[in-house]
Structures are given as C-alpha cells and as structure tokens.
C-alpha cells in the first residue's frame, strides 16, 4: 500500500514530467538523451529528500529548483552579462563564443528549432529565465522562488533577456 507522501509525489511526477523534460531540453540545447538522464536525477533527488523526512510544500517548485541546481553543477554557474555588452558584441558579430559553444558537443543542429538555436546564443542566466517565463509559463515571483532571488531582479533579467532574444531572432530573420 502506498503512503500518502508517495501518492502525492507520484501525482506531482505525472503532472510535471513533460514540462520538466521540455525545460531541461531547452536549457541544454536539445540533447534529448541527456535531458532524460537529468530528468531522472531530478525525481530521484526529490524522492531521496522525502525519504530523509524533508517536508516539501510545493513539489513543482522543488522539482525546478533541483533541475536548476543540477544544470548549474553540470554547466557552471550562470554568467551574468549586461545587455549593453551583449548588444555591443552582437553588433560586431562577436557573441560570447564560450556561451554559444558550451554545449556544442551535444548540440545536434539538425534537431534544433530556431528557438533552440537562438537560446543557445544567450548567456545561461538569460536562457534560464526565458525558458521559465515563456515555456513553463511562470511569473517573476515563481521564478524568483526557484532561483532564490528577488522578484524584482528576475523581472529586470526577463526584460533584458527578451530584448536580447528578439534581437537575435530579428537578425536571423533579416539575413
């Protein structure tokens, strides 16, 4: 017989696994196998936390928090780049090469959509808030809870990231 905690966990797992897979996939530029592995890790870590007696009020937010930590562990802490610096580099056709090529070994260009390629050109912290905002449909306060930052900081970052993404997409369109 399943305990109450297990039932709640399994319901949250079923409700969120597709969205979390999508989130991770967009963050790592479309490597589906790696996304599947990371997704399994997210649920395994959450389950282990519950086994140790941790009380989790919002399982969805906790899943995203674990995913955020796993991605930071794997790809390093997001580097904050100012919009001015980004625009300047973009004008000269010199976008942060290290950010773009960070996952180049796992990127399969044939599978990537236009969005995935555009996101890959953005710094990791911009990509993160854009995926959370426009793909996971979270508000600034929910994103702030996951990232452990203030809602105001997150709002500013979303605006800058959106402007940067538009610029990249327009550049692609105009070419």
């Amino acid at each position: 017989m399943k305990s109450r905690t297990e039932q709640v966990f399994l319901a949250a797992y079923e409700a969120n696994k597709n969205a979390l897979f999508r989130h991770i996939l967009m963050r790592i530029s479309g490597d589906r196998d790696r996304a599947t592995d990371l997704l399994s890790d997210v649920f395994a870590r959450t389950w282990n936390a519950l086994c140790k007696g941790k009380e989790i009020e919002n399982l969805r937010a906790y899943f995203y928090r674990v995913a955020h930590n796993l991605l930071v562990d794997e790809y390093g802490k997001p580097k904050v780049i100012s919009l001015d610096a980004l625009s300047e580099e973009s004008e000269h056709g010199e976008l942060e090469v290290s950010e773009v090529s960070l996952h180049s070994d796992v990127v399969r260009l044939g599978e990537l959509s236009e969005l995935t390629r555009a996101l890959a050109k953005l710094p990791n912290d911009f990509r993160e808030v854009l995926v959370l905002r426009y793909i996971d449909d979270m508000g600034p306060s929910q994103i702030a809870e996951i990232l452990g930052e203030s809602a105001n900081t997150v709002s500013v970052r979303i605006n800058r990231a959106t402007a940067a993404l538009r610029e990249i997409l327009n550049g692609v369109t105009n070419k």
Partner: protein, 169 residues
C-alpha cells in the same frame, strides 16, 4: 506579413508542444520505480504516533503547571505570614481600656518650637540673631491622698473644692 511579435509568440508556442517520446517516458518511469523500491519512505507505526501525541499533551500540561507555579512564586500574596496564630479580635471596651493604660504609662509630652526673626537692628554694626523659644508642657497633675487633684504650684495655689484658700500673705 508576419510581425516580429507574432513570430516571437509562435516560436515559443511551438516549443511548448515538445513532449517526451514514449521510450523516453518509459525510461524515466522505470528508473523512478526502481528508486522508490530501493528506498521506500519509512512509515511511523500508529502506536508510536499516538504515544508521541500523548507525550506532547502531557508535556504541555506540565509546562502550564510549572508556569503557573512560577507566576505564584513571583507575584504571590503580599500578606505577612502569621507565625503566632491568628490575630485576636478585641472589643471596643478592651481597646479603650488599653488606650487608657497607655496614657497612664506614657504621659504625653507636647513640644513646640517657635523660631522668630528679630527686626533689623537700627545699629549698622549690630548682627541680627535668631532667637529660639521652646515651650514645654508636662501633664504631671499631682493627686492628693484624698483623691483630689491640685495644680503643681504649691506656693501659688492650694486647695480643693469650690473655696480655695490662698496661702499667699
């Protein structure tokens, strides 16, 4: 012509439609199932839970009693403790009798002190000094053998009754 805004929204809408493939979903399911089987959540027995809740209640009651005792000790009654038993209640007559006895044993001595400042001396060299007058009256009536009371000035007046006899030449 498609605007940039529409393009922006459309591109995210397409991304939202990306789902796990069946084999990917099966893989994650299997891993999680194995994880749960290997590491189940420990469940507390019902008896343990009830004992724990009873202990909590008992602890609360004891805590409340201790707090109440502490408050009593700190802010308790300010009445003095009677070490020699209860105070005797006295009647009005007894109280008056005691007062009379105290009067006889301890005669009242009234003392008054008057301090006056003398007027300024007309002499410029004179130094004004304060004078102090002390009047003392002692209630020391003298009682004769026959029970009558006389004034304590034998050279001035003696006698009883309504016809005093002057001894002054």
């Amino acid at each position: 012509m498609e605007t940039n805004e529409n393009k922006f929204e459309k591109i995210f809408d397409r991304a939202k439609q990306v789902d796990m493939r069946q084999e990917e979903s099966n893989k994650v399911d299997a891993r999680l199932k194995a994880q749960i089987a290997a590491n189940p959540i420990p469940t507390a027995p019902a008896a343990t839970a009830s004992i724990a809740s009873m202990s909590k209640v008992l602890g609360l009651v004891l805590g409340a009693l201790l707090v109440a005792g502490g408050i009593y000790l700190v802010t308790g009654s300010s009445e003095p403790v009677l070490e020699d038993g209860p105070v005797e209640e006295k009647t009005q007559e007894e109280i008056e009798k005691e007062v009379e006895e105290q009067k006889e044993n301890n005669p009242i001595v009234a003392t008054s002190t008057n301090t006056t400042t003398p007027p300024i001396s007309p002499s410029p060299n004179a130094t004004p000094t304060a004078s102090t007058t002390t009047a003392t009256t002692t209630n020391t009536d003298v009682t004769e053998d026959d029970g009558t009371t006389v004034w304590p000035y034998p050279g001035v007046y003696t006698g009883t009754g309504s016809n005093p006899t002057s001894t002054t030449p």
